[in-house]
Symmetry: C2
Subunit: 190 residues, 2 copies
């Protein structure tokens, strides 16, 4: 997505070889118009696939997920960070590692909102190590739901998440894949 790549080149801050800071338009301050264009691009790329629900994880994925749900006129479910003690029995849970914070946390989805046979598109703002996506997929498996694919705004192609998911035969559509960060230069995958 050309406009997104231009925005990354203009506004992202590169810190070291691994951190791409895009909190001016994606994950702290959010540009709703850009997110709407991203959502429309997701809808177009997955236009061949029937979708019943959008699934994301709190917090910053909610913005682009809700706009995707709006375009498709489908409900959006977000997995919640939760303490194990607050998880009612019968819900779906997974343990997710946070790359930036280097911690683990449990996430939960109520079994009321993802049902067996639901065709679910996972939407998120970032794909890096793939921990969040794998946690969401694990919960879809618990539900007996069907994964349509994974729609990502920015993929860090130099981390293992994208290869991991594609290696499992999962359809991943990323609007910008950053293959290299070096000395303030951002290189996208063609």
């Amino acid at each position: 997505m050309k406009e997104l790549k231009e925005r990354i080149q203009r506004d992202a801050k590169v810190i070291g070889d691994t951190i791409l800071k895009v909190d001016s338009f994606l994950n702290h301050q959010i540009d709703p118009q850009l997110m709407q264009k991203a959502a429309r691009e997701f809808v177009q790329r997955f236009s061949d696939a029937p979708i019943d629900k959008i699934l994301t994880i709190e917090a910053s994925g909610i913005a682009v997920a809700i706009l995707t749900g709006l375009e498709l006129n489908k409900p959006v479910v977000f997995a919640k960070k939760a303490k194990p003690s607050t998880m009612p029995a019968g819900n779906y849970t997974a343990r997710v590692k946070s790359f930036t914070k280097n911690t683990h946390h449990d996430v939960v989805i109520s079994s009321e909102y993802i049902k067996q046979g639901d065709r679910v598109l996972i939407v998120d703002d970032f794909l890096a190590g793939g921990h969040a996506a794998c946690g969401l997929i694990e919960m879809l498996e618990q539900a007996g739901a069907q994964l349509v694919g994974v729609a990502i705004v920015i993929e860090k192609g130099f981390q293992e998440g994208g290869a991991l998911l594609r290696g499992r035969g999962i359809r991943v559509e990323s609007l910008a894949i950053v293959d290299c960060l070096q000395g303030n230069t951002i290189t996208f995958r063609e």
Copy 2:
């Protein structure tokens, strides 16, 4: 907002005298079409007031905030839950109490995204004790920004947040004010 009140009557679950569970359309599963209508209602109610930015707090407030920002073509900033150790100097911080979890946590906004003089509309899904709103307002004061008002999807009128804010002269627009929960009966303020 009539459609919202009807949806609450139809789908909310009342637990005891204080808990209104609306996670089928507002804060776990989200209905994007209903949130768009709520956002449009906010824009209409605040149409007399110039707005530079929308401010909310993670996580479930992000959905209606992003749709409000989309309508107004203005950026959306969400305050992040953060550990004190991860807060860089110069940012705005506040300590917020969670009613449902009975815990305190620190929230942070980067000083890059709220500036002195910015006219800011706070948008959130719920107003109960007013802790989140007060934390956001405290951070706006730290920034020297101007609070336009507080736009809320569902206000629990039997808790003190709404009276607290209005008592300080703050403009609060709530699309549904629930005044009483008793034995599965939900009573709205006229």
